[in-house]
Structure formats: C-alpha cells, structure tokens
C-alpha cells in the first residue's frame, strides 16, 4: 500500500520563495517560454534589419502594426468564439464593431460622459444584441450547414449598417477625448497615450481575461468542449444553450470594444467596421478557426504584416522603380495574400486541429501525391517480386 506522504511533495521539498502560482514551471511550460523568447528575438532582429534598409521610420510602422494588431486580436477572439461554437463565419461582425463604436459615441456626445463609460455601455448593449440575435435568428438555423447562417448574418449586417446610416448619417465623427500629443521615444517614433498605450493595455487585458476564462473557469471548459464537438458536449450534460449565449455575449462584447478602440485611433464612420472585417477573417483563418490563441497569433501576423509592408510599397511606388500610383493603399492586399497562402498550404491554420480527413492545401496535397507516386511504382500485382 502506498503511503500518501510518499507521493505528495512534503512542505520541505516545495520550492521556497515566489511561486508562479497557479502556473507550475514544468518542463513543457519552460519550453513554451523559451520558444516565445526565440520568436521575440527573431522579430527584433527582423525589425533591426528593416530599419537598416528603410531607415528608423520603420519603427513607426511597427508601432502602427501593433496598434492594428491589438484591435484585430480583440475582434478575432470574438469572431473565432462564435465560429467555433456556432460553426459559421459571422459576416455581420464588422457592422457589430461599428454599432459598438456608435453606441459609445452616443453616450460620449449626447450624454456627455467619458468615453470609458461609453465603452462600458456599448459592451453591455452589444451583449444584449448578441443574445437577441441568437434567440431570433441563429438558433433557428442550427444544423443547416455553414451557408444559411452566413446569409442570415449578411442580412443582419445590412440592417445594422443601414440603420446606423439612417439614424446617424454617413458623416464621420470623432470621440470627445482629451487631445494628447505623441511622446517621442526615439527620433521618428512617438507613442501616444490614447492611441497606443490604451489600445495595447486593453488588448492585453482582454487577451489575458480570455485565457483565464478558457483555461480556469468551468464556463471556459464548457465552451472549449462545445466548440470541439457539439453533440458530445450535449451528451456529457453540458448546457450548450447557456454556453452559446455566453459565447454570443463575449463575441459581441469584444466586437464593441474593438469598435471603440478603432474609433479611438481614427474616426467613427458607418464603414469603419467593414473595412476591418476581412482583416479579422484573415486573422481567424490564419490562426485556426475556433482557437482563441490562434486568433491572437493570427491577429499579430496580419496586423504587423499589413502595416510593416508600407515602406516597401512606398519604395515600389517611386517613379524609377515601378511607379505604382497610390502604392501604400495596396497594404490591404497583404493579409489577403497571407490568407490565400494559408488556404493553399495549411487550411487548418496555425493552431487548428487537423481533422481525420485532412483538408490539405492544394500545394501540399499535390506535393504529397507526387512523392507517394514516386515511392510505389505502379505495376500488376506480383510483378515487382523476384521470381515472377
């Protein structure tokens, strides 16, 4: 019989001092942290090389890239939650972001409250909107495949966008926030309290809260289970209806926050969310559908690549290179190209799980086929054996 005291570490053998509780520093966690540090080191080297080629202004674009990434990450987490649990791409997501920005604008300008109150109100209002959408529309489309909810979500998007157009006109608005200048760090690079620090801080805190939710709460575990396999989750006794409502609440709440952040770094206009919709879709697919961590990585990749390609495009736009007019406007094509590349090579994304019937990309599939054909020469059975 095993004595309990032999299997449990006694008080004397526990490490003293500050413990990273509840994260135990196992070998696996140490490996992950090491990998993360290596990636950060590679990134810094990459930026340094670019700075050598294009000048110190690359840091400005890197900062812009992180700004866009923060917004895209928050939005992508919301989108991927519904994509994983309800199984469809929510084409109304851009319009939900816009709605969030406008609700905050209403509170900010009409009720003359700080934008923070606007953001909180907007979060709550959008949670309501999400639940209403689920009850009225999307619960009736369960089991109809991926296309029917897409069509319905497009309808929802049209209603939201044109409702905003009708009520608030197509003008551009600005939030009433204190005017703050950039704090110069390095010549050519300035950090803005509102546009940069707030965006990063909100992005980080949302990422951290999602991580805590998914990993350490029962609701989070139930959400992961439902996203994995709806029928099995139901069979295990998980209340998938409650999980779905929670997912819609979080999804739309995150949409509202990313909309408010978007309004903070730019203007509030009816088209603001739709311009980001494809970026967010790209982030979700690159990261792997249904995975919040994939959404974070995908958002980072997509946002950084879109902004950091601008110096290259400007160089291409110079008359002695190609002379492309409005070259910097093509930066939006970069996430699209990354999306196509992911679809060609690894459709399940960075963090996506390969299903049993592997949806191989076209290129990897063709390569695999060619390699397999090389290895097994075709001939009548028995002919390649000695003796005949």
């Amino acid at each position: 019989m095993v004595e309990p005291s032999e299997t449990e570490p006694s008080l004397e053998t526990r490490p003293h001092g500050f413990r990273l509780s509840p994260i135990h520093l196992t070998a696996a966690v140490r490996r992950q942290i090491l990998r993360g540090l290596i990636v950060v080191a590679i990134f810094i080297t990459f930026v340094a090389v670019l700075a050598a080629i294009f000048g110190i202004s690359i840091l400005q674009y890197t900062r812009d890239g992180f700004r866009v990434s923060a917004i895209v990450i928050v939005a992508a987490i919301g989108l991927t939650l519904i994509y994983g649990i309800r199984g469809f791409a929510n084409f109304a997501y851009g319009d939900l972001m816009t709605l969030g920005a406008y609700v905050a604008l209403f509170v900010n300008l009409n009720a003359r409250l700080s934008i923070v109150w606007g953001a909180i109100t907007s979060f709550l209002v959008l949670i309501l909107v999400g639940i209403v959408l689920e009850v009225l529309v999307f619960s009736r489309l369960e089991g109809r495949g991926p296309v029917a909810p897409i069509v319905a979500s497009v309808g929802v998007g049209l209603i939201i966008q044109n409702g905003i157009n009708a009520v608030a006109s197509t003008d551009q608005w600005l939030y009433s926030i204190p005017v703050v200048g950039d704090v110069p760090i390095v010549p050519g690079l300035g950090i803005n309290w509102i546009r940069d620090v707030t965006t990063f801080a909100v992005g980080f805190s949302f990422m951290a809260s999602v991580h805590v939710l998914l990993k350490y709460t029962n609701l989070g575990k139930a959400m992961r289970a439902t996203a994995d396999n709806l029928e099995l989750a139901k069979a295990t006794g998980i209340d998938t209806k409650r999980v779905t409502y929670a997912a819609w609440a979080i999804s739309c709440g995150f949409a509202s926050t990313s909309g408010v952040l978007l309004g903070l770094i730019g203007v509030v206009s009816p088209q603001m969310g739709i311009q980001y919709l494809l970026l967010v879709f790209a982030a979700v697919i690159v990261g792997g559908i249904g995975s919040a961590y994939g959404a974070m990585l995908g958002g980072l990749v997509v946002g950084l690549s879109q902004e950091m390609v601008v110096p290259l495009l400007v160089w291409l736009g110079e008359p002695d290179v190609i002379g492309l007019p409005h070259a910097d406007a093509y930066k939006v094509a970069v996430p699209f190209m990354i999306l196509i590349a992911v679809l060609l090579f690894r459709p399940s994304g960075i963090a996506g799980r390969q299903t049993a019937i592997v949806p191989r990309g076209v290129v990897t599939g063709a390569i695999a086929k060619a390699l397999a054909a090389r290895r097994a020469p075709i001939g009548p059975p028995g002919s390649d054996q000695k003796g005949g």
């Binding site: 084409f91 296309v147 009708a166 494809l278 409005h326």
Partner: protein, 340 residues
C-alpha cells in the same frame, strides 16, 4: 449601390407623345438594368443553385467584366495634366473595338479570374470559399480605385460608346437598342444554360451539390466539374458587366460594392435556388423595388429622401433573414427530377 434610375427626359410643353416616350425610356431602362441583374443571377444560380458553391464576390467578377469591356471599347483618354499636376487621370483604352469584342473579352477575363480563385478554395469548405471570394471582390475594387492610370480611379471610365449611335441623338431609340441587346443576350444565356443543365454535365453538378462523396465514389472528378461550373458562372457575370457598360455609359468603383452581391443573393433566394426562370423573375422583382424607391423619392419630404435608400437595403436584409429561415427554396422551387 447608388440608385441607378435616371430621370426620364420629359419635355416641357405637354406634348403627350413626348411624355409617353419619356416614360417608355424610363421603363426600358428599368427592364435593361433588371436584365443585367438577371444575367448576374443566372451566373450565381449556376454556381450555387446547381453546384452548391457559395460565391460572395459576385461584385468582383462583375467589375472585372465591366472594366474589361469598357477598356476594350473606349477611345483613347489620356490624363488631363494642368501645370504638371494630373487633374483627371485617363484610363487604358484606345482600342475602340466593337461591343462584341468587349463582351467576349469580359467573359474571358471574368471566367479566368473565377477559375484562378476556385483552384485554392474549392477543395475546402463552403465558408472558406465565401470569405475568399468576398476578399477577392473587395481587393479588386480597391485596386481599381487606386490604379488610376489604367482604370481612371475614382473618376471611373466615361464616354463609353453606345452600340448604335443615332444622329440626331434619340434617347428612345437608344433605350430600345440597349433593351433589345440585353433581351437577346439574356435569352441566349437562358437557353444555353437550360441546355447544358439538362445535359449529363449538369446532372453531375446536381449530384455534386447533393452528395459530393457519392459522386466521387461513382468515379467523377468532382473538382474539375466544380471549377468548370464556377468558371462559367464567372463568365456570365463578366457578360453582365459588358451589358452594364451598354446600359450606363460610365463606370466607377462605387457601383461594385458588396451590397450588389447581397442583392443578387436575395434575387436567387427569392426566385428559388436552382431555378433559372426564378432568377430572372427575382431580378425584375428586386430591381423593381429599387426603381420604385427612386421614383418614390420625388414624392417624399426632403428629410426622408436618403432614408428611403437605406430602408430599401434594410428590407433586403430582412428578406435575406426571413427567407433563409422560413423559405430557403424560394418562390419558384426547383422542379424535383424523379426517374420514372
């Protein structure tokens, strides 16, 4: 999409024949634009109604066809430079070929683009195809807006030559010519589609839509069939683009926003997916709604003028939701083919 209905040129003075002609021109315009929507819907019907491929980038293929036809048929239009600054960017042109060339080139370019988009995405899920095609149409529109020297940028392409130029200019005759050309083309498209859809090729498409794995098990290369269907659908959308240049002799990128794609979805869903007659009927119905809303604008107080435009789009949104939940088979459902 901006309201397309033109003000009918009614002559002042009350000559009844002139007023009638004005109304006729307006109605002919309505019919011509409905025909454009109908050809788009026929193309989408082939892709989705028959083969089950959900294309969210219809506007992009439409744009490619329209701009190709415009570039092929317009005379030279160099940029207007004043004091070293480009005031109006010109566009690529100067070929001045007849409309038939324009239409054929439009179909080729759009069809080719459809095939290229299809290759990486058709093997994957329906929603990946939707996202990729939506991304494609938006990127194409951005490129068109930015590639000033080729496409005329936000100014677009103007002075597209008419099919037959009347001297002195006769709007009624112009409208009739456009309507006649459109009607002929849509009839031809409808007949060709009906023929190939009842053929063995069309049967395989329907089999792919119902159960792709079973079709593969029967030895059909389903990917090839899907690419062919998607390509032909894209070519039809290019043809619609060429028709667009006939009907409205100027192009600009804002005509090709995603709202156009969503209108085509409504048309095909209303008319019944897989039903070509329904697609044409749906086009006349849905564009009729837009045309009526523009006429209504005149009778409504100024404050509400723009609201009519937004309300129409909201109605389309509601239609999409209600139809897809309660009557996805549409008004005229596909006839069920049963072996007797």
């Amino acid at each position: 999409m901006r309201p397309l209905a033109r003000r009918a040129a009614t002559k002042k003075g009350g000559d009844p024949a002139a007023v009638d002609t004005g109304i006729l021109v307006n109605v002919a315009f309505y019919a011509s634009v409905s025909i454009i929507f109908a050809v788009l819907a026929l193309g989408f019907n082939l892709q989705w109604g028959y083969t089950g491929l959900f294309n969210a980038g219809i506007a992009g293929f439409f744009l490619l066809g329209a701009y190709t036809a415009a570039i092929v048929t317009t005379p030279l239009d160099p940029p207007t430079i004043v004091g070293g600054v480009v005031i109006v960017p010109g566009h690529l042109g100067g070929f001045s070929l007849p409309f038939a060339f324009g239409a054929i080139m439009a179909m080729v370019v759009s069809g080719l683009a459809a095939v290229l988009i299809a290759i990486p995405t058709l093997r994957l899920r329906a929603d990946y195809l939707a996202i990729a095609t939506l991304a494609f149409s938006e990127i194409i529109r951005r490129i068109t807006t930015n590639l000033d020297t080729v496409t005329g940028g936000t100014n677009g392409i103007t002075k597209i030559p008419r099919l037959i130029t009347f001297d002195p200019p006769n709007p009624f005759a112009n409208a009739m010519v456009v309507l006649g050309a459109g009607a002929a083309l849509v009839l031809a498209a409808f007949l060709v589609l009906s023929f190939i859809e009842e053929s063995p090729w069309g049967r395989v498409l329907r089999a792919v839509r119902e159960d792709e794995v079973a079709t593969m098990a029967l030895g059909k290369n389903t990917l090839l069939f899907k690419i062919e269907a998607f390509g032909i659908g894209g070519a039809l959308m290019g043809l619609a683009g060429a028709l667009f240049t006939l009907t409205i002799p100027y192009l600009e990128p804002s005509n090709f926003a995603p709202a156009l794609t969503f209108s085509i979805w409504v048309i095909v869903i209303v008319g019944g997916a897989g039903n070509n007659r329904g697609a044409i009927l749906g086009a006349f119905l849905i564009y009729g709604m837009e045309w009526a809303s523009v006429i209504l604008k005149d009778y409504v107080p100024t404050a509400f003028k723009n609201t009519i435009f937004y309300t129409r789009l909201m109605i389309i949104g509601v239609l999409l939701i209600v139809l897809i939940i309660y009557r996805p088979q549409g008004l005229l459902p596909e006839k069920r083919r049963v072996l007797k």
